[in-house]
């Protein structure tokens, strides 16, 4: 059980579990319903991109959609970023296999959002303009802090992109019957189109459209499952326990978090990793003010929570409605297409082949929307943090900055496609775990300290980020995900699958130590500027407003 959990857990975020999916082989017939609906989605979103392109003139439009989105729109987009193909297919698959443990995983993602709301959402909006580096560099030295933050952003964005690309390629191969190469190219090209032409406005609307489609599709599935069980959850759970190999044990914790250190570490990584993901942090700059930022997290938490409630019904429903149906099992008795396909099979059971096509198209759309956000956050780190601030010292014109951001998007797109092809056959399940650990250890501690602790200095911020990066990467490599699963050593040097507890602590300690020991003139000036920053973060006086359209 523990081994199973270890294999499953890191693969969830990116659904990058090639070993599971590849086992089935690629020779599936083309799924025309799915392809037709997906083409419809692509045409419609390209139309949206055209509309957005006409409204994207300034850097502010490009990075933050002009800062004029409403709380509801931004809340849907945030929810869209969190309810990915990975959580839809991966968590329902976990519930199908282990029952209750799947629920544990979804709770970690959800529980981070209230904390983000209470501690950082409004301050972020009051202090920043385009990227989270704006906030960290508010009273610190621009060049070193921007370079470190851009490095953190690009590392997270690229790793996440690779995980998504490989997951997408395998999934699309399976769902649509088109080849891995074509799938990866298609995702890369569409992503670059959305971002270079439509900027944040197009990226956000693609995300909103997809979130609405996924939420309504899942609602329909959950409704049909509940109807099958006479709208009684007790009947649903009883039915699932009656046919599942584990019996009523599926209603109890099965050992996913049996080790308290791993449990807390995983929880920390998921909570604060989310608060350190650059494409999520960027969303807080797309609303007019702190009040709208607050509203957007409230909506987002509501939608994410609702989605996970639906997943309980879908996952347990699949145990009965998919698990007992021989048409979904191959000759050896395994689920056709691998465990991650149970939600897709359930779609066929409750809605026929047309609805199956719809859900497949939505899964594809989900990946597109997430990678577009990632590419945009990576591009903004290059053009806004590195080019405009570090290289040109704030002297770049809007046109130059826009041009660099578009070139950067293109470069990131090409890189993502290439890496997606290179890593096709690799076991990259560790990547998604590593992404969250890095986000929680590199970005979050300095972002948090820059807002809450007067004593943080440039030296402390840079040291804290680097220590967090180094320790997160080292511990993942020495841990079971890489040392055992990839490098095939018999046992891990670092026993825990989730390094966040240790790497985050080290990052905080490092930032603290290198700040308090910093006696330079610059450091004392930086501490002196905290008051002005604190007043602005609390009241919003002087915060960047929305642009007029």
């Amino acid at each position: 059980m523990k081994r199973l959990a270890r294999l499953l857990v890191p693969s969830l975020l990116a659904l990058a579990s090639p070993s599971v999916l590849a086992a089935e082989g690629a020779s599936r017939p083309l799924n025309w319903n799915a392809i037709g609906m997906f083409l419809l989605f692509v045409l419609f979103t390209l139309g949206v991109t055209r509309w957005a392109a006409m409204r994207t003139r300034s850097t502010r439009d490009f990075y933050t959609a002009g800062g004029g989105l409403s709380g509801l729109q931004n809340g849907l987009a945030i929810a869209g970023d969190m309810v990915s193909a990975a959580s839809f297919l991966g968590i329902s698959a976990m519930m199908f296999m282990t029952g209750f443990d799947g629920l544990l995983y979804s709770l970690g993602v959800l529980a981070g959002w209230p904390i983000i709301l209470f501690l950082i959402a409004e301050r972020l909006r009051n202090l920043g303009k385009f990227t989270f580096a704006d906030v960290v560099a508010y009273r610190l030295a621009q060049t070193p802090v921007r370079i470190t933050a851009a490095f953190g952003t690009l590392t997270v964005a690229l790793m996440y992109l690779v995980a998504q690309m490989v997951g997408a390629g395998k999934l699309i191969e399976l769902l649509f019957g088109i080849s891995y190469l074509h799938a990866v190219m298609l995702v890369g090209v569409l992503m670059v189109c959305y971002v270079t032409f439509g900027g944040m406005l197009a990226t956000t609307w693609v995300q909103i459209i997809k979130a609405v489609l996924l939420l309504s599709g899942s609602s329909f599935m959950a409704f049909m499952v509940l109807r099958h069980f006479g709208f009684s959850t007790e009947a649903l759970f009883a039915g699932a326990a009656a046919v599942h190999a584990k019996g009523t044990a599926i209603m109890a914790p099965g050992g996913l978090l049996s080790n308290p250190v791993d449990a807390i570490s995983l929880g920390l990584g998921m909570m604060f990793g989310t608060a350190g993901l650059p494409h999520i942090l960027m969303r807080f700059f797309t609303v007019a003010d702190a009040r709208e930022a607050r509203k957007s997290v409230f909506y987002a938490t509501g939608f994410i929570g609702y989605f996970y409630l639906l997943l309980i019904v879908i996952g347990f429903g699949a145990i009965v409605m998919v698990g007992t149906d021989p048409q979904f099992r191959d000759a050896a008795g395994a689920i056709i297409g691998g465990g991650n396909m149970v939600a897709v099979h359930l779609a066929q059971t409750v809605g026929g082949s047309l609805f199956l096509g719809f859900i497949s198209a939505v899964a594809f759309a989900t990946i597109l929307a997430v990678v577009a956000g990632l590419a945009l956050s990576g591009a903004s780190a290059v053009s806004h943090d590195l080019y405009a601030t570090v290289v040109r010292k704030g002297q770049a014109s809007e046109r130059e900055e826009m041009r660099v951001s578009r070139i950067a998007t293109l470069a990131i797109g090409v890189l993502a496609i290439l890496l997606g092809l290179v890593f096709e056959a690799q076991n990259i399940a560790f990547l998604s775990g590593l992404v969250l650990a890095i986000a929680a250890s590199v970005n979050f501690p300095v972002l948090f300290l820059s807002m809450f602790w007067k004593g943080l200095t440039t030296r402390g911020a840079v040291a804290g980020s680097l220590i967090g990066l180094f320790s997160a990467v080292t511990l993942v490599v020495l841990g079971p995900a890489v040392w055992v699963n990839v490098l095939k050593n018999p046992s891990a040097i670092f026993p825990y699958a989730n390094p966040a507890l240790f790497s985050m602590t080290l990052a905080f300690l490092g930032a603290w130590l290198f700040s308090v020991s910093d006696a330079s003139e610059r450091a004392s000036q930086e501490r002196g500027r905290y008051l002005a920053q604190f007043i602005r973060s609390m009241t919003g006086v002087g915060a960047a407003g929305a642009s007029q359209h």
Partner: protein, 102 residues
């Protein structure tokens, strides 16, 4: 803002009330969320049999109910935060902004 302006905002009773209210609201809700979530996680780690116990003699377990409650409480706490912020903190904040603009 000039040092004098900063100084005067800092000493302003409305500003001090704002900081007090916000700090209390932020940290008490954060603590509540951490207790709820980690309480649940530690229960899973140390006493899984409590969560596996059936509820009212049926199949539905205590843990399933607890998990759903964690989801509902997370959403509930954000609701409390938004409500309190809109009702009590925003009016204070508006006053401060207006006084600063003068």
């Amino acid at each position: 803002m000039s040092p004098q302006q900063l100084e005067s905002i800092q000493r302003h009773p409305h500003y001090q009330a704002l900081v007090r209210e916000k700090t209390r609201l932020n940290w008490s809700l954060t603590l509540a969320m951490l207790v709820i979530y980690y309480g649940f996680v530690l229960l899973v780690a140390f006493s899984p049999e409590t969560l596996g116990r059936p509820l009212n003699g049926g199949v539905t377990s205590v843990g399933m109910l607890a998990g759903v409650l964690v989801i509902l409480l997370s959403v509930g706490l954000t609701g409390i935060y938004v409500h309190r912020s809109n009702r009590r903190i925003d009016p204070l904040n508006e006053q401060i902004k207006q006084e600063c603009a003068q």
